[in-house]
């Protein structure tokens, strides 16, 4: 399909060739969309006459940029929208320096682009492989953008159904968040693991939704989206909420509150007044530049941004230290007890031992003690390869032991079994470093000197332990073959937070 620039009354519109009338005043084209010059996007177009399917198209497209293939409407239905400028078209890929830039995921890296003989434009066509899972976007694809008014939300009756109480730290952070939302500023909420991060958002969310703001809560992890969704539906029963993740079925729900993985935010464009990024330092958000850009693209020019984490990245800390990013710290856990401080245990060359099919003695003893005394235990390992070997070795002694990693189909079931107690000890990669709460669990890291166990990973791992009020103390041990800066920094991080919370408390 080729596209043309056509003069309609006083405006120039981009239309697919099939919709262009015979006597139209064609200014450019017909040509592949990426070769046509870009047109300015009109803002706040108000339809003068009623258009069929208006509400449905608006609901699908509002606040987003979607491929034509993702729309469920034919060009014939979309024609009046295009002619009035309610919807405008733009190229999916644009030339950038010597390569291309994907207009959806903003990737520019050369290795992310592929080339093929395209049946649609009958030319060699370049496409973006980085965001291929959301549908192929190539030099001949068009992105549709909504320029009309927002759908009407019923935000007068927003109701917050939550009657919990705040700790002092939470109270302070919650009021800071409200302030930030009203001022449309930025803030970092640095709250230790188990501080009750989600609860402190509630009052801020209520405030924002009540004044008609559109709010995005985004996080790199699907697990976190799945955990947040039911909790927020319960406390905000009258709000329209949509959860977006890989297999979600709510992709076309233009809800006022969106809870999405950072990948899913790629479809949005300048629509959110408040963006809350939970676990802002988690993989892959910090590793993938295009995700940071996607979140920036999703919010309006004037918007509040709330970064939420227990372990801010060095970059965030630097911005805080330079006074460019306000920060509120919650050094104390919700239940008021200090964080368990990790201890270090030297175990020698554990890799050689595992190759020779035995576990380091102290690590094996630790496992044995926990299994015999019925204390649930996490054993973190640096890689999937190590995971398999260690799980095998433990299974030989205690067959109920299991291992999980990111590619494991039964991950959720295994975690649930662990929670119920039918798995006494769970071997895991860093995949479970966040978001899992198991009461009374003890934690060990095997090979804590590995590069994958950064300061933040180790702090998060230690943060799994002692989260319940009934059992606030716990054993956290790093089995290592040589102390690293990361391990020392993690311990210092935890003791500093404990000291700070003592002084405040």
């Amino acid at each position: 399909m080729n596209y043309c620039h056509v003069r309609l009354k006083s405006d120039v519109r981009c239309l697919p060739e099939a919709l262009v009338e015979n006597d139209a005043d064609i200014l450019a084209g017909p040509d592949v969309i990426s070769r046509l010059p870009a047109l300015p996007t009109p803002s706040h177009v108000i339809p003068s006459v009623s258009i069929p399917f208006y509400d449905d198209v608006q609901a699908t497209l509002f606040g987003k940029e979607l491929l034509y293939e993702e729309m469920e409407y034919s060009w014939g239905i979309l024609k009046p929208f295009l002619e009035t400028g309610l919807i405008t078209l733009k190229s999916g890929l644009l030339p950038y320096k010597k390569g291309f830039c994907c207009q959806r995921c903003h990737t520019t890296s050369k290795k992310s682009f592929g080339c093929f003989d395209c049946f649609r434009c009958h030319k060699k066509c370049v496409y973006c492989r980085h965001c291929i899972m959301m549908g192929r976007i190539s030099t001949c694809s068009v992105l549709l953008r909504w320029n009309g008014p927002a759908p009407k939300y019923h935000y007068n009756d927003i109701l917050l159904k939550w009657d919990g109480t705040f700790s002092n730290g939470q109270q302070k952070a919650a009021s800071k968040i409200i302030e930030t939302i009203l001022e449309q500023a930025d803030i970092l909420v640095w709250a230790v693991c188990g501080a009750g991060k989600t609860e402190i958002l509630f009052s801020g969310l209520e405030q924002a939704l009540r004044i008609g703001q559109r709010v995005l809560i985004t996080t790199p992890r699907t697990d976190v989206v799945l955990e947040l969704l039911p909790r927020l539906r319960k406390v905000l029963p009258t709000t329209s909420i949509a959860g977006l993740y890989g297999d979600s079925e709510e992709k076309h729900n233009p809800a006022q509150l969106i809870i999405a993985t950072t990948h899913q935010t790629m479809r949005f464009t300048s629509t959110f007044d408040t963006v809350i990024i939970d676990e802002v330092d988690a993989f892959p958000y910090t590793a993938d530049h295009s995700l940071t850009q996607a979140v920036t693209k999703a919010k309006k020019q004037q918007a509040a941004t709330i970064h939420l984490t227990a372990t801010p990245t060095p970059l965030l800390k630097k911005r805080v230290n330079a006074n460019r990013l306000p920060c509120v710290r919650i050094p104390q856990r919700y239940h008021g007890f200090p964080l368990p401080v990790p201890r270090f245990q030297w175990i020698g060359s554990w890799q050689t031992r595992i190759e020779n099919r035995s576990l380091p003695a102290s690590c094996n003893k630790w496992s044995q003690e926990h299994i015999e005394q019925n204390i649930p235990a996490f054993l973190f390992v640096p890689s999937v390869a190590v995971l398999e070997k260690v799980t095998d070795l433990l299974k030989e002694q205690w067959p109920a032991v299991e291992g999980v990693h990111s590619g494991d189909q039964e991950r959720l079931q295994k975690v649930n079994q662990f929670r119920k107690g039918s798995i006494p000890l769970l071997v895991t990669t860093t995949i479970l470093e966040r978001g899992v709460t198991i009461p009374g669990v003890d934690v060990a890291v095997l090979g804590a000197e590995s590069a994958i166990f950064t300061e933040s990973a180790l702090v998060q791992i230690a943060g799994r332990a002692g989260r319940s009020k009934e059992q606030p103390g716990a054993d956290v041990v790093y089995f290592h073959f040589g102390k690293t800066n990361g391990m020392v920094a993690a311990k210092r991080h935890i003791t500093t937070m404990n000291r700070e919370s003592n002084q405040k408390g």
């Binding site: 592929g114 080339c115 049946f119 291929i132 899972m133 549908g135 192929r136 190539s138």
Partner: protein
């Protein structure tokens, strides 16, 4: 440095005389290759189905006993099993449209062609116009194009078939529906010439063999000599 076409990890190919003198073509990394299961050992000589003995399998006997289908397809050679990894690869290649993944199969397909079907005329299984428009590319055509760039190159591709009827996707049908579907989706392309030639059909997957036999039927009626097929997967 090159990257695996599927998982994007760095691959460091072994240095060999070929890699020194010829530009390396994009490929899959050794881990991805290892998780794709090549068909080895005893197979049905007609359809490549893996089995305990090397005799013709029951399904193929049934095909050959039917007067309508007997003798149409001489041999099908499939390269891979349809395991979980392959399902993921195919989903991304064919359905998501990540066309370049296909290049990962360049070498294996070419070597099968050279070994078993050298000199045969490649004929890709076409897509209907609607499906081609939807997908943007034809995976069978891509497999055929590899043979053109082989050394020595194959005879030029004949687009001998046209898919005029737009059916539901084969993968959405049951086995019985596929075998008993009487619709002949293909037509002969009058611009091509295949008279007296040996033909190798190319497709991504052999499931029941219905599609390939329907295609072979048309080609036979227009004078093709021997018809074989290379399919990437034995489903």
């Amino acid at each position: 440095m090159s990257y695996c076409l599927y998982c994007g990890e760095n691959t460091t190919p072994l240095t060999s005389w070929t890699s020194l003198f010829l530009p390396s073509s994009p490929s899959l990394c050794s881990e991805c290759v290892a998780s794709l299961e090549r068909i080895t050992g005893n197979v049905c000589p007609t359809c490549s189905r893996p089995q305990t003995s090397a005799t013709v399998c029951e399904d193929c006997l049934r095909w050959e006993n039917s007067s309508q289908w007997s003798g149409l397809l001489e041999q099908n050679y499939s390269l891979y099993m349809y395991n979980e990894k392959m399902k993921d690869v195919i989903a991304r290649w064919k359905y998501r449209g990540d066309a370049v993944i296909g290049y990962g199969f360049h070498q294996p397909v070419v070597s099968v062609y050279n070994k078993y079907f050298n000199g045969y005329v490649p004929v890709p299984i076409p897509l209907s116009k609607e499906r081609a428009e939807e997908r943007g590319f034809n995976q069978s055509e891509m497999l055929a194009s590899f043979l053109q760039r082989a050394r020595p190159p194959s005879p030029s591709i004949e687009h001998a078939l046209i898919r005029s009827i737009h059916e539901d996707k084969q993968s959405k049908k049951s086995r019985q529906e596929r075998i008993h579907s009487v619709i002949q989706p293909f037509q002969f392309n009058k611009k091509s010439s295949i008279k007296g030639k040996n033909i190798v059909l190319l497709d991504d997957i052999y499931t029941t063999g219905t599609t390939l036999r329907k295609a072979a039927d048309i080609l036979k009626k227009h004078g093709a000599k021997k018809i074989c097929s290379i399919t990437l997967i034995r489903g």
